[in-house]
């Protein structure tokens, strides 16, 4: 582990922290444009975060310490997740500490804390949101694991850095399992990040909201942390998808030039991905909550098919 790889690690986390709200703003801008509305500025999420940070935090009178602790835990988990994903370089000190299973576990930890915090105040919407979030979680988590497994079978490893490394340096072989995994991954990411068609990030219609219901009781800096964590989560999922399926540009080592190039490639890929997300969200309608299990079961099956196709063709 050299000083440069530590630098790459720190840089990566900082880039994630800074770029995540920008990605959210970018997607929101495109969503508005596609609907023929006047878009908010790309910088709007930063302004929102700043506003929330300077405001007083209003907490329900009987909220327990767990409620105040949860935003920090969630933020810490998602930040760590962003540090584990080799977005800029595959030579990271953190990447040996956590592989894809640990990454999924980390995101699950964040979800459990959000759900527990939502149940803490004991309002109808909070508990309803917690139930729905956990429902989506237990359906999406195995699907996500299966997607990651089908890639890890190709590279014979569960370490993300090694996975990216192999996928980048492979000869142009065709892996028929990968497209299935890719589609499944997109479906899972939509569900996990509370996007249309599973949830609507801009909704405040009480009966349909999931993510908003979870953070309904938060305000001020706690809400800011939660919103920031949500942006970071979207960023993390986008990065997982990009490094697994479009890994080109990720620096093999921590050389400064390669890092700069990787950063440019990352921003470009994220910009394209954000537009794609906005287009997809604008084209599809939100589905009823009872359809979500079918949606995610489809993702799960696709991922398993991807795995089976791989084992069949490899045998």
């Amino acid at each position: 582990m050299s000083a440069w790889s530590v630098f790459a690690q720190v840089l990566e986390v900082l880039v994630a922290l800074v770029l995540a709200p920008l990605l959210t703003g970018w997607v929101n801008q495109w969503r508005a444009l596609l609907r023929n509305r006047r878009p908010p500025s790309v910088l709007q999420p930063y302004r929102l975060l700043h506003k929330l940070f300077v405001k007083d935090s209003v907490i329900a009178e009987h909220a327990s310490p767990l409620f105040r602790m949860a935003p920090y835990v969630v933020f810490g988990c998602v930040t760590l997740a962003c540090g584990v994903i080799p977005t800029l370089s595959t030579d990271l000190p953190m990447s040996v500490a956590a592989d894809v299973i640990a990454l999924v576990g980390l995101l699950a930890l964040a979800r459990v804390f959000i759900a527990l915090a939502a149940m803490d105040v004991g309002t109808a919407f909070g508990t309803l949101g917690a139930r729905r979030e956990m429902l989506i979680g237990f359906l999406a988590e195995p699907a996500l694991l299966m997607v990651l497994f089908s890639v890890s079978l190709i590279s014979q490893t569960t370490s993300l850095a090694t996975m990216v490394h192999t996928v980048t340096h492979r000869a142009l072989a065709v892996y028929p399992g990968l497209p299935f995994a890719g589609v499944a991954f997109v479906m899972v990411s939509l569900a996990e990040n509370a996007r249309v068609p599973v949830d609507n990030p801009t909704t405040h219609l009480e009966l349909t909201m999931i993510h908003e219901a979870l953070i309904l009781e938060y305000s001020g800096r706690h809400l800011a942390l939660m919103e920031w964590a949500a942006s970071l989560k979207l960023f993390a999922y986008s990065c997982i998808g990009l490094v697994l399926f479009f890994p080109w540009g990720v620096a093999p080592g921590p050389a400064p030039g390669a890092l700069a190039l990787a950063l440019v490639a990352l921003v470009a890929k994220l910009a394209v991905g954000g537009v794609a997300l906005a287009v997809f969200e604008s084209l599809s309608a939100k589905m009823r909550i009872f359809r979500v299990p079918e949606f995610l079961a489809t993702a799960f099956l696709l991922a398993v098919i991807g795995l089976l196709v791989h084992t069949l063709t490899a045998a």
Binding site: F75, L80, A98, M119, P142, L145, M146, T158, T162
Partner: protein, 672 residues
């Protein structure tokens, strides 16, 4: 054959601990109703003995197997005892878990709970001693004696509150299935001795059974030990017996006693039998997965907290057995490293489950005492009145949900790793099935998170659903200490997996011939079963990274912005008439599971119509296996009994006629 005085000490020490446990129990009987003495002195002594047992087991884990012959029992049938790495690992688990439970029990038992305290103390310590005895028994006779002692003592413990009819019924069901299982184990030993008439395990090891007989022995072992472990479909006693027992006893039964069945299975499968077949492993995988899935799905719909935990135990045992099944498959194909990996995952889970499930059962005990309520629908908001119990339970909940950096995650990680490395099996169908199995394991793990959020959220979070809950008293010092011990254990298992695996290493070495110890020792703090490039996990770095992230957020908030907080009524979209009854209930949290997994349940629903004057909603979830398997067997037994009953006329003339006819028939038969 003693391996020198140094290691000779360990088996002697274990025997001494067992004897002292029995002694503590007898002292308890002598001080039958002196409540304070029994609770505050005897139970902590029992806990201390548990610690001693753990230390002895740790010392013996790395030594050579030690044997002893104890001339008790029938003449010519002495007890053969043996302490090897496998026994030592399970003894360690028993010691660590039981010491926490005993300390908790010191503050738990109250006056006037059916059985007098001294008798309870006897049953409890006999139970502990019998469990330790099962692990060191080295012949079928000794094994069956201690096994039955374990079953009987736990039966009396389950029925401690014997004045309640449901508890008597649960105890009866438990005893019945325990004995049906014991018959299976007995017959298994009968097959294993291969007609030599020598029932020592040493002889069984030396025999080489034909594949057919070996498979019969394997099947009987799975049946017998499966009944004790709660494998589907022999699990029906578990959700009845665990809620019926007092909480420390449920903790011991669920956390430790189920593990003795796992021990028995491993002993027969890898030690007494010599050549595992691949389809044995496939069978174990199927049974394990069925138990895991059924357990977690049923746990998600329970509305009674201890019953929920009992189903969750079935799930965890299922995962352990699935790991053993995978290890068997690998061992059958001579892939020893992978077999060791899968077995290590199972053995690791044995330890983590023992700790976190004991902890969770103890916490339900504290809640039960503070509120005298076990129905999730009448609890809530206890984190404010019982903060100690709540925060300690949270650790157990996170470990049970398999979340990093706690113990449950490591075993899940190892198990998934062993599935991922499976692609090279020389069997096409298995190769295809393994990814699906991995998918099911992932589903079970994710569902476990759902169950635990429900468990913790409904009991401790939200607003109290009943008036009295706001004044619930937190657990006593003894109870806190016991739970804290188990919580620390759960954290330690999660943070130092490499060191734990080094203790497991001699076990897999003894059973399979190879272990992960060397790789673990090489990589230091990093958990990497095969190589770092392939998969690695470093919980300490992980925790550090997470803490840095949290700290970053904290500094950001504290340094850059003010820390003012205002308290106000909850917002709830501006709805001011919010009451505690508007929170989601345990039934509500079970609803999506009931809907998605409907084919797995037998549901009885009573839905109100809009015109009801007094609308009533009732859902009863029943176990279809009870109706499909046990009811018909029960009906069959009843019919046979009624046929036999025809003989009984209750008139002396008829019975005399039976004797006469029998005599006549015998005469005819003899004179022929």
């Amino acid at each position: 054959m003693l391996a020198g005085p140094g290691s000779w000490l360990a088996l002697d020490g274990v025997l001494l601990v067992i004897a002292l446990w029995l002694l503590v129990g007898l002292v308890g009987v002598a001080a039958l109703r002196r409540f304070r003495f029994v609770a505050r002195v005897l139970f902590p002594i029992g806990g201390g003995l548990g610690l001693a047992l753990a230390a002895l087991a740790l010392a013996a884990a790395f030594g050579r197997p030690q044997v002893a012959v104890l001339a008790i029992g029938l003449p010519g049938l002495p007890f053969h005892l043996r302490l090897d790495a496998l026994s030592a690992w399970f003894l360690l688990v028993i010691g660590v878990a039981s010491s926490g439970v005993s300390v908790f029990a010191a503050g738990y038992f109250r006056r006037g709970e059916g059985t007098p305290p001294g008798l309870l103390c006897l049953q409890y310590h006999v139970f502990l001693a019998a469990m330790a005895g099962v692990l060191i028994a080295d012949d079928a006779y000794a094994f069956m004696v201690v096994w039955e002692t374990m079953a009987l003592s736990s039966f009396f413990l389950v029925t401690a509150n014997h004045r309640i009819p449901e508890i008597r019924r649960a105890g009866y069901l438990y005893l019945l299935i325990a004995h049906i299982g014991a018959i299976g184990i007995l017959m298994c030993f009968g097959v294993l001795q291969a007609g030599t008439g020598d029932y020592t395990f040493a002889n069984m090891r030396a025999q080489h059974l034909s594949t057919g007989w070996a498979s019969v022995a394997f099947g009987l072992a799975v049946f017998g030990f499966g009944a004790k472990a709660g494998l589907v479909p022999l699990h029906v006693w578990l959700p009845e017996a665990h809620p019926a027992a007092p909480s420390p006893v449920s903790a011991l039964m669920s956390g430790v006693m189920l593990k003795t069945a796992v021990y028995g299975l491993l002993r027969v499968l890898f030690d007494l039998l010599d050549a595992p077949q691949w389809w044995w492993g496939a069978l174990l995988l199927a049974l394990g997965l069925a138990s895991a899935l059924m357990g977690v799905v049923y746990a998600a719909v329970q509305v009674e907290m201890k019953r929920l935990l009992a189903w969750s135990s079935i799930e965890n045992i299922g995962l352990i057995v699935a790991g053993i099944g995978l290890a068997t498959v690998f061992a059958a194909f001579r892939m020893q490293t992978l077999a060791a990996l899968a077995l290590t995952a199972s053995l690791f889970h044995v330890a983590t489950h023992a700790l976190f499930k004991s902890l969770l059962f103890l916490s339900t005990g504290s809640v039960l005492h503070a509120t005298s309520e076990r129905n999730l629908g009448k609890l809530g908001g206890l984190i404010r009145s019982m903060p100690w119990v709540a925060w300690i339970t949270l650790i157990g909940v996170l470990a049970s949900a398999g979340l990093p950096p706690f113990g449950g995650f490591v075993s899940e990680w190892l198990l998934l790793q062993s599935f991922l490395f499976t692609t090279g099996l020389p069997h096409e169908v298995l190769n295809m099935l393994i990814p699906i199995v991995a998918a099911l394991i992932a589903l079970v793990a994710a569902l476990a998170g759902y169950v635990m959020v429900k468990f913790f959220g409904v009991i401790f979070l939200g607003q109290p659903r009943e008036e009295k809950l706001a004044h619930a008293r937190d657990a006593s010092r003894w109870e806190r200490a016991g739970m804290l011990w188990l919580a620390i254990g759960s954290i330690a298992l999660g943070l130092f997996p490499v060191q734990v695996i080094e203790v497991i290493d001699p076990v897999t070495r003894g059973l399979i011939g190879t272990g992960l110890g060397e790789a673990a020792a090489r990589s230091g703090w990093l958990l990497a079963p095969t190589s770092v490039a392939r998969a690695s996990y470093a919980p300490l770095v992980f925790l550090l990274g997470g803490a840095l992230g949290c700290g970053l957020a904290w500094v950001l908030v504290r340094r850059l912005y003010h820390g003012r907080v205002r308290r106000a009524p909850p917002w709830d979209c501006g709805y001011p008439w919010q009451t505690a009854r508007m929170q989601d209930t345990a039934e509500g949290l079970g609803q999506p599971i009931r809907q998605i997994f409907e084919p797995l349940f037998r549901l009885e629903r009573e839905l109100p119509s809009p015109f009801d004057a007094q609308p009533r909603y009732r859902v009863v979830v029943q176990d279809p296996i009870w109706h499909a398997v046990y009811r018909p067997i029960g009906a069959l037994v009843a019919r046979v009994a009624s046929l036999v009953g025809l003989l009984q006329q209750g008139r002396i003339a008829v019975y005399l006629m039976y004797s006469f006819v029998t005599l006549l028939a015998l005469l005819v038969w003899v004179s022929r």
